[in-house]
């Protein structure tokens, strides 16, 4: 009995000492700041920052190879937390961006050439005579962007067009890459006026294809007090485009536009923005990745 206890105790002690020494020798130094950053990261691992997940982003931020504002789900609130952890100033922060659909030609506005019954996928429908719409540049309404959105921010509306929930949208760019028509665009949340048409056809054809098309009348261009909206040559024609750097959100062009191709959205309510920020402090970014 005594021998058994002593011999086992000796073995345990020897192994313990060896392990103790080797743990000193093979100690891995982990930067405590990386751990601290991981605590405040959204944890959605969406990859919008271009890094392999939130852990990769945290390491890259500490290493200084990536800008903390690159995390679009985290937004400004995360940037402030990162700055607090790293002891840096909040500067060169880029405004939160949301996806805007540059098309209003839903059911009732756009003229259809045929009725599509097939796979519900934008890429597939475009293979059939460039989509069922008479307009070849607009949204084909099959919801590929909605399925691509990891945050559930895009729902298909009653008129068949995708509707972006600006509060849920994190500007991760997935829908922009998915859209085969390339009519989703990331725009800063403070920009409220958008030309929601990319049809470059002449007025007659454009108007015949869609009731809310840009008809190149230049009324917006003439009425803009900031010289922000211009008819820009594109494709085989031209289309009105807003310079977001100059636009002051006055909305005159949206009011004057005869086809209502330019539209002004109501600004995001401060209450809801605050609500999201508070939730962010609790660690939940409403990304719905857990659902």
């Amino acid at each position: 009995m005594l021998v058994a206890v002593i011999s086992l105790a000796c073995m345990g002690a020897i192994f313990g000492i060896v392990l103790g020494i080797s743990s000193r020798k093979f100690a891995v130094e982990v930067d405590p700041r990386v751990e601290a950053l991981l605590q405040v990261m959204p944890g959605a691992n969406c990859g919008a920052c271009g890094q392999p997940g939130c852990a990769g982003f945290a390491e890259a931020v500490v290493a200084g190879t990536v800008n903390p504002s690159a995390c679009s789900p985290g937004g400004l609130s995360l940037y402030e937390k990162i700055a607090a952890i790293l002891g840096t100033e909040v500067s060169d922060y880029e405004e939160r961006k949301v996806a805007q659909l540059l098309c209003q030609g839903g059911v009732g506005h756009a003229r259809m050439s045929y009725r599509y019954k097939g796979i519900s996928d934008c890429h597939a429908v475009l293979k059939k005579f460039r989509g069922p719409k008479a307009c070849n540049t607009g949204c084909v309404m099959q919801g590929s962007c909605s399925r691509a959105c990891p945050f559930g921010a895009i729902q298909m509306g009653a008129d068949g067009l995708p509707v972006v929930d600006y509060y849920l949208c994190t500007g991760c760019n997935k829908c922009v890459l998915e859209c085969p028509q390339q009519i989703l665009k990331l725009v800063g949340v403070s920009h409220l006026v958008n030309v929601r048409c990319v049809n470059t056809d002449k007025a007659k054809e454009a108007k015949a294809a869609c009731a809310v098309a840009c008809i190149k009348c230049r009324i917006c261009e003439k009425n803009c007090p900031e010289d922000a909206v211009h008819l820009v040559p594109a494709g085989n024609g031209s289309v009105a485009v807003i310079d977001y750097d100059k636009c002051s959100n006055c909305g005159i062009c949206a009011a004057k536009c005869p086809t209502k191709a330019i539209d002004k959205i109501p600004p995001l309510s401060e209450d809801v923005v605050l609500e999201i920020k508070e939730a962010a402090n609790s660690g939940c970014e409403h990304c719905k990745a857990c659902a």
């Binding site: 021998v3 058994a4 011999s7 086992l8 073995m11 345990g12 192994f15 060896v18 392990l19 080797s22 743990s23 093979f26 100690a27 891995v28």
Partner: protein, 191 residues
């Protein structure tokens, strides 16, 4: 010399630790999804197996046997294996963080890997000398790595295969393991 050859062939092919004796199934199913990870796991288990084989042989011969406390075999061997696994974990964490992440929970689980304890006990049961015990452990480690590599090679191909939904993941892995085990039965007449 012939003895050693027989030990090697028998341990690697005929009495393969995973496919014939069904020890160490946990990492066989768990870490066989990627070839690189299974190579790392094979290396880690091999290291633990060989060192544990040598150390447990020494403990059996110089402590347990002289003091006549053979009943402590399991406890003492597990102590050795657990300490070794801790050591391997530290080394891998230091020198290959990527491998450390790929192995995940299966690395500390080598502690309770019955392949390691099984080989250590087999060494004693067969009354090998130290040299034979080390060769025996090494061959079993090679057999374990071989089984893991074969399995991961098949499972990498399976990624592209059209498998019915109910069979995806572990079910198809178990079927493959069974088929591999049956094919290894073919080696039984070798010696």
């Amino acid at each position: 010399m012939q003895d050693y050859f027989i030990i090697i062939v028998s341990a690697v092919l005929i009495n393969n630790i995973v496919l014939s004796q069904f020890l160490g199934i946990c990492p066989f199913l768990g870490v066989s999804k990627k070839l690189s990870a299974s190579l790392g796991m094979g290396g880690a288990v091999s290291f633990v197996l060989v060192l544990a084989g040598a150390i447990t042989w020494a403990i059996q011969s110089y402590i347990l046997k002289p003091f006549n406390i053979g009943y402590l075999q399991t406890v003492a061997f597990i102590l050795v294996i657990a300490a070794l696994v801790q050591f391997v974990e530290m080394v891998i964490k230091k020198y290959s963080p990527a491998l450390y992440k790929a192995l995940g929970i299966y690395l500390p689980l080598i502690t309770t890997n019955c392949a390691v304890l099984g080989v250590a006990i087999l060494n004693i049961q067969k009354e090998y000398t130290l040299g034979k015990a080390v060769v025996h452990s090494l061959s079993h480690a090679a057999g374990f790595t071989l089984a893991l590599i074969l399995m991961s090679g098949i499972r990498e191909r399976l990624e592209d295969a059209d498998i019915p939904e109910c069979m995806q993941g572990t079910p198809i892995a178990l079927v493959i393991g069974a088929l591999m085990s049956m094919s290894f039965l073919g080696f039984s007449g070798l010696i």
